[in-house]
Symmetry: C3
Subunit: 347 residues, 3 copies
């Protein structure tokens, strides 16, 4: 099982210096065709109390080599009870922070996650131990929200707690203290509609990579809190998340602790095989996982149409207005517009 | 499904400076045993109109690390009609240029592809969108030419058109213009013999990597045309291809556009489990995908015997006379002879 | 099929400079959670005379990128007789040297292999051709020693001979001469107990990587011999191995040929799902596969408890006293104690 996303972002692009390395490295100059994600998932119950989920990505970049393999998920769930309401998750897995981060990219309507919440945990994942609890009927509801094409997040518990390295996925840990995270969320059934409300936060010490003359403390405070609102598309969907926090940010040649905030709001309509959507994103703050943790100021509006004529194939076309900080010193602001195209294969 | 090739090229080698990095990096000094290809293929129809084909190689070199994973094929076929005569192929796949490039290495008799046509598309593949058409009865003929052990190419259409990045497989695109390619081929049934005639070409702009004091334009013309002739071995087979073109070549410290040409001719006989063959290769021109695009002058004669006692195991022994340009400045010509051995496992 | 090991080595660690890069890179400073092994194995008989065994590791480090893929095993067995007593193994596989090296890490009680024998063949494997012979009834005994949870090695023959590159797994060969290896071992049934005695050795020329001002000959002698004793745990098990040899070692800024020696002794008791064990390790000699081949002086005592409540899940806690050479110049001795924790998932 798995999925693949092939993209082309060069049509109608007005500014080749407008790039988004965190989201899609084929936006901007010399983009061309890109395999954005190439996933094959092995999973299953190996015992009534143990299941495994192994998901490598085959289109990662390792030291300039395109299309090499890097892990995404690689974990086991150990269930504490027969109904599987309580479990520990051990290995590399998604850090329970926010809704959009939890949702699979194969289900998300916009092409990339919002900077606002995704900058908290690049690649959404880290290595550690997580505890999840969800009552059986809510587990079923989480599952049905995905199965019915309502763009659910899957089951990351209604209560989640965890400890993890904190340097984001597939990175060496760089200090001796783990990050800790907590989250609560609940999908309320209100008549025929389902509304999910969630909130949570994490705290830890992050070690920023520096280059050139930039100085940074050995480790720095990295804390955030978020709130999420989701009205699932039956047929009109609304989705909004916001987070605030403090973390590393480059200021005048030094990385210091600074406040950050940002979020997004999205509306969509489920019309048979079609799903038009519009999403606005705002982010103001550092990107801790980039060298020197530069400050990003992001405003992006994406209007798109997802078409899934058959379950195996999904096509998305979107038009994007964006203003983003350029990822190289002196980090100027760049703005532009472009057409984005994606073909997704599910298997 | 997949196959693995293990090689040893040190017996009787007369010149340790005779190497062939494009073909087999264990030829020459410090070669030893080599896993040349380690392939596992996942493929299948995920819908009556969509199939996927995912083929990583597990014995690639990533930044000096041997035996890491890099993609070969990763694509989906989207069929436009029920008979599957018309289709789009999206993702990374073989660029339809030549016959030997299309043929699987698990079926080819000589150990490496000829420099002449393979220098057009290193690793035979690129990322883009391709259109293929082949009538149903020819699709069946393509398939039967492989299934009967006649060393066919598989079905890459009788008409093929495509647009792709152009920097060859698993590389970042480096300009804003795609390459375009076209090819026609037809396997004629003439009595009990099958003769396939094909021709095609591609055009695009290629960006050469440079090092040292070498200068190169930002992008350079890269065009080629080829013709192919194949008499399938029932029991005597003949195969010849030739291509001409223009592309980047290092001349006196500058990379400039220069003509290139080359081809090969091969004869083989299918004698039960055995298949003796002899192939001569000629190439005169630049290798665009190497740093500085040095000029190669290649003459190679390979006489070999393939033995496939059971479908799971194929052994090849060959004796090679070769004259090749050495891949390091000042790029001298080296000539020599060697014994080549290969064990191939099919699974 | 496969297994994954997740570890945490930071509890009670008394010396952050005590590290063991060959065994577990999360011991010492900035360790955190670690996926030590992430294995998926594809294997099967592709013919009555040919079987394949393909085992990549998904948690390897490739050029600073964590959680990338590098091969462990990738070989085919070609059986010469119907009873499968005689076979050639072609590809990358374990070099038949010692008992602990042959035993799967999923079966070994201590968390890492002993330096003493593992320093002979880092990652236990190399690329080449091996010959194995074992009578049918001993093949069955090897198999049953694994299946019954008695921590057997699997079947690497009672007689083993091989030729291989010699630069250890996943490395480029660096000279023109292969290493050769031979081993004999026999599991004697004595009443209800099984005692295995083994011995063997290898010889070859190794090429040491150097850095800085260190000088080394082009290639150096690398020879070792070992003896092994195993009393399988029914319920009390004893295990001891020792090896002596000569190989590269850094002395006063030059890499020279020097003697080396070391071994380990272990006792364990199989008590239902629990298996307490204690192992002492000694090694005095160079580590040829590290840059400059520094001399290591290792003394380690590990006391641990393995608990396998269900076949899918195995938990290990151990307390370690260790004195080890630090892997960076000037290579001081470091000593310390730490708690080691591991969760292993089998699938």
């Amino acid at each position: 099982r798995g999925y693949t996303q092939v993209r082309y972002n060069q049509l109608g692009a007005t500014n080749e210096r407008l790039v988004n390395l965190q989201g899609d490295r084929s936006i901007g100059k010399d983009g061309g065709f890109l395999i954005r994600r190439a996933r094959v998932i092995l999973y299953g119950d190996v015992h009534e109390r143990v299941s495994v989920y192994l998901q490598p990505d085959f289109a990662s970049v390792v030291s300039d080599q395109y299309h090499s393999l890097v892990l995404r998920d690689w974990y086991a769930d150990i269930f504490l009870d027969k109904k599987k309401e309580f479990r520990f998750r051990v290995g590399q897995s998604k850090v329970p922070y926010g809704f959009e981060n939890m949702q699979s990219s194969s289900n998300r309507a916009p092409l990339d996650r919002s900077d606002a919440l995704n900058s908290a945990v690049k690649d959404e994942r880290d290595l550690g131990v997580f505890f999840y609890w969800a009552p059986d009927r809510i587990r079923k509801r989480f599952k049905s929200l995905v199965d019915q094409g309502l763009k659910g997040s899957g089951d990351y518990g209604v209560v989640a707690l965890g400890a993890y390295n904190g340097q984001t996925a597939n990175q060496k840990e760089r200090n001796s203290t783990p990050h800790v995270v907590g989250r609560v969320t609940w999908p309320f059934q209100i008549g025929r509609q389902i509304v999910e409300l969630g909130a949570g936060g994490y705290a830890g010490k992050f070690v920023v990579k520096t280059a050139g003359d930039v100085e940074a403390p050995g480790e720095m405070r990295d804390v955030r809190a978020h709130a999420s609102f989701i009205l699932y598309p039956q047929p009109i969907g609304l989705q909004a998340e916001y987070n605030i926090g403090r973390g590393p940010e480059l200021v005048d040649g030094r990385v210091v602790e600074r406040p950050l905030h940002g979020g997004y709001a999205m509306a969509m309509v489920k019309l048979g095989d079609f799903l038009p959507y519009v999403r606005g994103v705002l982010y103001e703050g550092g990107r801790k996982f980039e060298t020197n943790a530069p400050r990003y100021s992001v405003r992006e509006l994406e209007m798109g149409l997802e078409w899934q004529p058959i379950s195996a194939l999904e096509l998305v076309a979107a038009y994007v207005f964006a203003e983003r900080t350029h990822p190289e010193a002196p980090y100027p602001q760049e703005s532009g517009r472009l057409v984005r195209l994606q073909a997704q294969f599910n298997y």
